[in-house]
């Protein structure tokens, strides 16, 4: 075989570059000699090899250095032996084989141990092994791999990047972890039918239709959107959203999924066997898993420690981890100094924040301390000391505590402290005469997470101090305090009057030692000491020094004593009363509609001139007539009917505006003993129709109006001019269907329309609305015919018969002939064929006359009768066929 300089350089010379130590011991490899060469071949071959060495030694660089070393060694060999002797080469071959046999055997074992789990080794890795064992050479290394049962495969380029932004990929990884989903494949195919491949293409065993594509992503997105909201659902939607965005930006779902698998394997730092198990556990097909593991960069089992990792740990708030990473970073590493400065700066900042937080707590600035500790936690969240310190720092106290006494209880309110704590609970403690020093110092009134509380049984007439403590963990804050003395006033004061006295009663709270009552006349008291003292006995007073009809004001004050015996007055309550005798029930109330056609005005009248209140309601009052009831109860019944009143001759009347509908009107006569219930009156009144109009068309009247809201029925009464009456009820729907209300007009009349409401309390009718309809005047109709007999079938003579519906005199009738197609509408448009003045016609007696049509008149022409006098006579034409000749 002729010598190939290029191959020789590639396979022998180049691998020796940069290698220190002795040259490889296999002379047959070094000289590319085979044991089958004879002497002439050897001479020629060695000449070529040395020529090449000499050629390459002239240059600069590592290859020249290699060639120099080879030439030096060659000089030694040439001097010691006959290198053109084939026997010498065979001896060298045997000696070398014997020398490397143990090394070869060890390599076989090593390869089996290292790659036996996957059964694969990449060609690149074998080349690196061969480079590290130059005595063996690539051929022997390959033989060793075969002897170890390994299959040599070409290296596969595993992705070094997901195709997503780094931080977004981190988010995706976080969401997958939160979902407990192993891989991106499981996110898109939650239950794959079998192992899947990813390296060259995505395929699932047993599910040929499975895809990692947009359609699948869209499907999962829709499912996620339809799922009930939960943290898991939100994480799933976020992960799918990242994939959708990545896909839109050109990323490949398969590459994302493969990178995630490779990333997880790299992070595991495990041996090949365990990595293989892990990969298959992630669902990868075994062959694909072996391929991925075999292609993982050598040395992944050793965690990387470097500047990047230190920076990453610091960024994540893992200062302690960063410090650990720094310790394993060799001091000789160029990154060591930078990493160290970063770690030391973070530690210094952490320590300063903790010191400042402790100082803030000592200064009572708990909120500041909380913020500083949160900043420190952002630097090193795993610091156990920091966690303990945070637990011991109390939150800031609540703000703006207020206490209000009302109705015998004390209501407390406050604002939440300035704290970042998710939930704060509060404890309210009460003490007398001193401020509670701690959350246990006093009576615990309430413990709550709300920002308000109530003390249901506060001691009266005591100096009460309330303290509110806040806590977000085990430590309580400083107290926020407020003070209060509870002095409940008298309540439910009732004044009962008669003509000659006023009786007062009230209710007091426990702890009252007395009640003071003062009276003023005609005005409220100016203060608690204003007015005449009214004697009190047994929780009431009876004031007999009063005059009927005068208004008296009574100031009632509850009196307490504190533990020292000092008098404490509660707030003064004032009530007034006018002494007067008992009233008489009103039994003759009358209610009627005020004006015809007006809307909602009623006139009420009753006998007597005393104070009477009229109230109206939808239902009758709960009291019988004659019952005396407290005025305040009267005010709870219905609504007051208000309006101007007039009293004449012992009769009181009032006009008031009320809404439409049924109402029960009840008179209450007000007297000294209360209100006396009078006789109720029930009356329904609804709104009348509006804008009533009548339009007569010939013998028909069409009434139209505007319906009030909520009214569906109207009653229409028609009184004709001749005295006849008729009425009908028409609903809204009928009105719409019939296009108004239609009535026979006759000779005119009066239409009255009332709206009607049929309710549970009876029928309510509105005031009538009236419209007058004028009837037509005299009706006159006529016929035009040829004279009887067949001989007159073409006669130009016409017999005209005129009738009227009632007797009338002084008529002028005029029969007109008008030539042309168009019917004359006025007598002047034609020529008279007949005219008669002062004609008297009676109902039922026709008037007949005959006319002749001049021979000169040609068709078409019209014959039409007109009545010039008197005006208002309605002429009813015969059919067109009688009038028109064409």
């Amino acid at each position: 075989m002729p010598f190939d300089p290029a191959s020789y350089e590639q396979e022998v010379l180049r691998p020796l570059r940069g290698r220190s130590g002795p040259l490889p011991g296999d002379l047959l490899v070094r000289y590319a000699v085979t044991t089958t060469m004879d002497r002439p071949d050897l001479e020629t071959h060695l000449r070529h090899v040395r020529t090449l060495w000499n050629q390459r030694r002239s240059g600069r660089g590592s290859l020249a250095e290699v060639c120099n070393r080879l030439l030096s060694a060659d000089d030694e060999l040439k001097r010691a032996s006959d290198m053109t002797d084939p026997a010498w080469w065979r001896t060298q071959a045997h000696a070398h084989d014997a020398k490397i046999k143990p090394m070869y055997d060890r390599l076989v074992g090593d390869l089996r141990a290292e790659h036996g789990a996957t059964g694969l080794v990449t060609r690149a890795r074998l080349e690196r092994v061969a480079a590290s064992t130059p005595d063996l050479g690539l051929a022997r290394v390959a033989a060793a791999a075969a002897a170890a049962g390994l299959t040599v495969v070409d290296a596969v380029d595993l992705p070094t990047d997901s195709g997503l932004d780094r931080t977004i990929y981190q988010s995706l990884r976080g969401h997958l972890g939160e979902l407990a989903v192993g891989t991106v494949v499981h996110l898109l195919h939650p239950a794959p039918a079998g192992p899947y491949t990813l390296v060259s293409a995505f395929a699932v065993a047993g599910d040929p239709g499975a895809r990692l594509d947009r359609a699948t992503l869209d499907l999962r997105t829709i499912e996620a959107e339809q799922a009930a909201d939960s943290p898991m659902a939100r994480a799933r939607k976020s992960a799918l959203s990242i994939l959708r965005t990545g896909l839109a930006n050109g990323a490949d779902l398969r590459m994302i999924a493969l990178f995630h698998v490779v990333d997880r394997l790299r992070q595991a730092h495990l041996g090949e066997a365990l990595l293989l198990s892990m990969a298959t556990d992630l669902g990868l097909d075994r062959a694909d898993a072996a391929l991925v593991v075999a292609n993982l960069p050598a040395g992944e089992a050793v965690p990387k420690r470097g500047l990047a990792e230190v920076g990453e740990l610091l960024e994540r708030g893992q200062l302690s981890e960063a410090e650990a990473a720094l310790t394993v970073l060799p001091a000789s590493s160029p990154d060591h100094a930078t990493a160290r400065s970063l770690v030391e700066a973070a530690r210094a900042r952490f320590d300063r924040l903790v010191r400042d937080a402790e100082a803030a707590v000592a200064a009572g600035r708990e909120g500041t301390a909380e913020q500083l500790l949160a900043q420190a936690a952002a630097i090193d969240a795993d610091d156990a000391g920091l966690a303990r310190l945070s637990e011991r720092v109390p939150p800031a106290p609540p703000r703006d505590v207020t206490a209000t006494a009302a109705g015998g209880v004390v209501r407390l309110a406050w604002r939440a402290p300035l704290s970042r704590a998710a939930q704060v609970r509060y404890r309210v403690v009460r003490a007398e005469g001193r401020t509670p020093a701690s959350e246990r110092d006093g009576v615990v009134v309430a413990e709550t997470t709300d920002s308000h509380a109530q003390d249901p049984r506060p001691p009266v007439a005591r100096d009460l101090r309330y303290a509110v403590f806040a806590s977000s963990g085990r430590v309580w804050s400083r107290p926020a305090t407020t003070a209060l003395t509870v002095l409940p006033p008298v309540s439910d004061i009732k004044l009962r009057v008669d003509a000659d006295h006023v009786l007062g009663v009230w209710v007091t709270q426990p702890g009252v030692v007395g009640v003071r009552v003062r009276r003023t006349v005609g005005r409220p008291p100016a203060g608690p000491d204003d007015g005449i003292v009214v004697p009190v006995s047994s929780g009431s007073f009876t004031d007999r020094e009063v005059e009927e009809g005068v208004e008296y004001f009574y100031a009632v004050t509850a009196v307490y004593r504190d533990p020292a015996g000092r008098r404490l007055d509660a707030a003064t309550q004032v009530e007034s009363a006018v002494p007067r005798g008992a009233a008489q029930a009103v039994g003759d109330l009358m209610v009627r509609v005020a004006d015809q056609g007006s809307t909602g005005r009623v006139l009420l009248s009753w006998s007597g001139t005393g104070e009477v209140r009229i109230r109206r309601a939808a239902t009758a009052p709960p009291w019988k007539q004659g019952t005396t009831v407290p005025v305040r109860l009267v005010e709870e019944y219905g609504r007051e009917v208000a309006g101007p009143r007039r009293s004449t001759d012992g009769l009181t009347s009032m006009e008031a505006e009320i809404p439409p509908g049924h109402h029960v009107y009840v008179p209450f006569a007000i007297g000294g003993t209360g209100a006396v219930v009078g006789a109720p009156v029930v009356m329904g009144m609804i709104e009348p129709v509006r804008d009533l109009r009548a339009r007569r068309n010939d013998d028909l009247v069409v009434l139209s109006w505007v319906w009030p809201d909520q009214v569906g029925i109207a009653e229409v009464a028609w009184t004709s001019s001749d005295g006849g009456t008729q009425s009908r009820r028409i609903s809204r729907a009928q009105y719409a269907d019939e296009n108004g209300c239609r009535l026979p007009a006759g000779r005119g009349g009066i239409a009255e329309v009332r709206t009607v409401d049929l309710g549970p309390n009876g029928t309510a009718v509105s005031p009538p609305v009236v419209v007058t309809v004028s009837g037509p005047a005299v009706r006159l109709w006529y016929t035009i015919a040829r004279p009887a007999g067949w001989r007159n079938a073409l006669s130009r003579q016409r017999v005209v018969t005129v009738r009227v519906d009632r007797t009338c005199v002084d008529l002028t009738i005029q029969l007109v002939l008008c030539v042309g197609r168009v019917m004359p509408v006025r007598a002047e448009q034609g020529t008279d064929l007949y005219r008669q003045d002062r004609l008297a016609l009676a109902d039922g007696t026709p008037h007949t006359f005959e006319v002749g049509i001049p021979a000169a008149v040609r068709k078409p022409y019209w014959l039409r009768l007109f009545v010039p006098r008197p005006s208002g006579v309605v002429v009813l034409d015969p059919p067109v066929a009688e009038m028109k000749v064409s």
């Binding site: 010939d698 069409v702 269907d737 296009n739 168009v822 019917m823 509408v825 309605v874 067109v880 066929a881």
Partner: protein, 398 residues
């Protein structure tokens, strides 16, 4: 013209060659068809909602199979549709004459109000008068945005809210669906009582649509019409305007009645192929709208304002009287050119006076009279045309 006009697309179709619409039920093991936009229906009627597919019947269907199967899903269906526009047709479509009655008029004449009130009258008083079963026809597949909805909205606006309707927009891209009524009535023939169903189709043209002869749909509509109601606005007659002292807002139409008639005549001559020397034989009811404005002018006892007798037939004598009174009124108002035009171009026409609202509305506020809608003689033009088609009898023939 051969065949019957489809009341929806106005193409002449043979009642024996109707297509079928798939029921969407499919057959066991084969799913039914699903609704999709029917391009033909969209093109012909503007209906763009999904509907089940339509298919032609097999040749022997008329004698062998009353329910042909869908070629796609093999499901049977008896729902018949127009072969041109694929709109579902009533089951008895084609069994009797179904006059297609057109309604045209200039912009602002009040066609939409008239059609709304006429439709309401048809379903109430007119129906009662003739003892007929009158119902709105149309696609029942949940098509609420069609004529049914249109009519309900308009009736509510006019009758309930007492508001005038907004001007109808010209039909540009989407066409409005015609309002189709089924008129089912008993009649006697040869001493036997029979039932017949007639389909009345009304298409509410926007007034402006008539101003251009390029609107092919309107041309198709006029071409297919068996009879026509031409609504004229009397306010466009100069002398009427002067006598009525109308407010400015009442002048909703600014086109002379004669011009409108002239354009309709041109369209009809074009579509019906009537040469200039001949008259158009299509029956035309020339209705003067808004006659309520003339109440005071004419007086309460004027024959035009009488309420017609409610007999179950067309009163020919009363109709003639109305015709002659309108003719006289036209001459009185100096609008005799309208009559001349009609006489010279139409062999069958009649005048009518109608009032859809029964009282002048408040044109400024767009409000109907507070007393409500009280139409006068709105159905007379239709009844006359129906009598010409034999749908209703005629009384008092000369």
């Amino acid at each position: 013209m051969p065949g019957v006009a489809c009341p929806y697309c106005y193409h002449r179709i043979s009642p024996h060659d109707l297509w079928y619409r798939c029921a969407g039920r499919g057959t066991p093991g084969q799913p039914g068809c699903t609704p999709e936009v029917d391009q033909a229906r969209q093109r012909e009627t503007g209906y763009a909602r999904p509907c089940l597919p339509s298919y032609p019947p097999p040749r022997q269907v008329a004698i062998a199979h009353a329910r042909p199967v869908c070629a796609r899903c093999n499901g049977e269906s008896g729902r018949r549709v127009c072969p041109c526009c694929h709109t579902p047709l009533p089951t008895d479509f084609g069994a009797a004459a179904s006059p297609l009655i057109g309604l045209v008029g200039a912009k602002g004449t009040g066609k939409t109000v008239y059609l709304t009130v006429l439709a309401h009258e048809l379903r109430t008083n007119t129906r009662r008068r003739f003892g007929a079963d009158v119902r709105l026809s149309g696609d029942q597949q949940g098509d609420q945005a069609s004529s049914r909805d249109w009519l309900k909205r308009n009736v509510d606006t006019v009758y309930q809210d007492h508001r005038l309707l907004a001007q109808t927009a010209p039909a540009r891209e989407g066409r409005r669906e015609p309002v189709v009524f089924e008129w089912r009535q008993e009649y006697r023939r040869a001493g036997l009582r029979r039932l017949a169903t007639f389909h009345l189709s009304f298409y509410d043209t926007a007034g402006e649509d008539l101003t251009s002869q390029e609107n092919t749909f309107d041309l198709a509509y006029l071409g297919a019409a068996d009879a026509l109601i031409v609504l004229l606005d009397p306010f466009t007659l100069p002398q009427a305007r002067d006598r009525l002292r109308l407010p400015g807002a009442a002048m909703t139409s600014d086109e002379a009645a004669g011009d409108v008639l002239n354009r309709v005549t041109k369209l009809l001559r074009l579509r019906h192929g009537v040469r200039g020397g001949r008259r158009i034989s299509l029956p035309v009811a020339v209705a003067f709208a808004k006659i309520d404005a003339f109440f005071d002018l004419l007086g309460a006892d004027h024959p035009l304002l009488r309420t017609p007798r409610a007999v179950p037939a067309y009163d020919e004598a009363a109709g003639q009287e109305t015709h002659e009174h309108i003719l006289s009124l036209l001459h009185e108002l100096g609008a005799d050119d309208v009559d001349v035009h009609l006489r010279h171009n139409y062999s069958r026409f009649r005048y009518f006076a109608v009032s859809a609202l029964g009282a002048p509305p408040n044109y400024e506020n767009g409000e109907v009279d507070a007393g409500g809608v009280r139409p006068l003689r709105v159905d007379e033009p239709l009844v006359w045309l129906l009598s010409r088609s034999g749908v209703v009898p005629t009384e008092g023939k000369r």
